[in-house]
Symmetry: C2
Subunit: 142 residues, 2 copies
């Protein structure tokens, strides 16, 4: 018995509005829930990407059906990598540049594939990469 | 054009040995790479789960094929949720208890499904939940 996948991936952002605009407009993620000042939630493939404002979630407990959701929250630059198609990297490079997002680094991996690294408005380290960089199949639509 | 999935989900741990033992022995994840003191990497479904020691990754730049991997690292309790089968929750509850891991909270979600919350040795907030909690199909083996 082991987990079959990661269901929730989280980053923290104190300016949720700016971060949410970035993930929807620049990265094209679908925001499906938000609580202004506390969180913004996005769908991504078979999982969800959650942005939390740590200034709230570190000390304010939410209760669901009588049970507390444990406190969490980080400071500093978190990291996440979103999977994109290997053939899409040039188009993503162009989209980031057109959106005024500085590409901080591009890495060509020994196993093949290129990663684009940049920052979200909060300073989190964001990466776009094809799954071949981890020796995983290039599945765009699953 | 939008990301098709999350490829890398990360948490930070200053005591990588303790954290890595937890994720392999208690959660059953397969560790496939490590650099003692810096990182430990695990496979999970079609993505990877990465543990970084922020005391290193915040200020030491790695170079791959001549390009830098941008710095990142967080402090405080991060959060991740691993997907498990809805029918496996009782067995996970038992496994955590047998491993001496305190279940901090159990949440029954309005959409159905139960989450188990506990801490890794670093204090990160870890959750096991079926995908039904987000209205996603209960796919264990993909």
């Amino acid at each position: 018995m082991k987990p079959s996948a990661i269901l929730e991936t989280c980053l923290c952002a104190t300016d949720l509005e700016a971060a949410a605009a970035f993930y929807t407009k620049v990265l094209g993620l679908e925001m499906f829930a938000k609580e202004p000042g506390r969180h913004a939630f996005f769908r991504c493939g078979q999982g969800v990407f959650l942005l939390f404002n740590p200034e709230v979630t570190i000390h304010e407990t939410s209760i669901v059906n009588g049970s507390p959701i444990p406190l969490h929250g980080t400071s500093g630059a978190g990291h996440v990598c979103f999977r994109v198609g290997e053939e899409e990297i040039p188009a993503w490079r162009e989209r980031l540049q057109n959106a005024g997002v500085e590409i901080e680094s591009e890495v060509e991996w020994p196993a093949g594939g290129t990663s684009l690294y940049f920052r979200d408005p909060e300073g989190n380290c964001i990466e776009l990469a094809p799954s071949v960089i981890w020796g995983l199949p290039n599945e765009q639509n699953t």
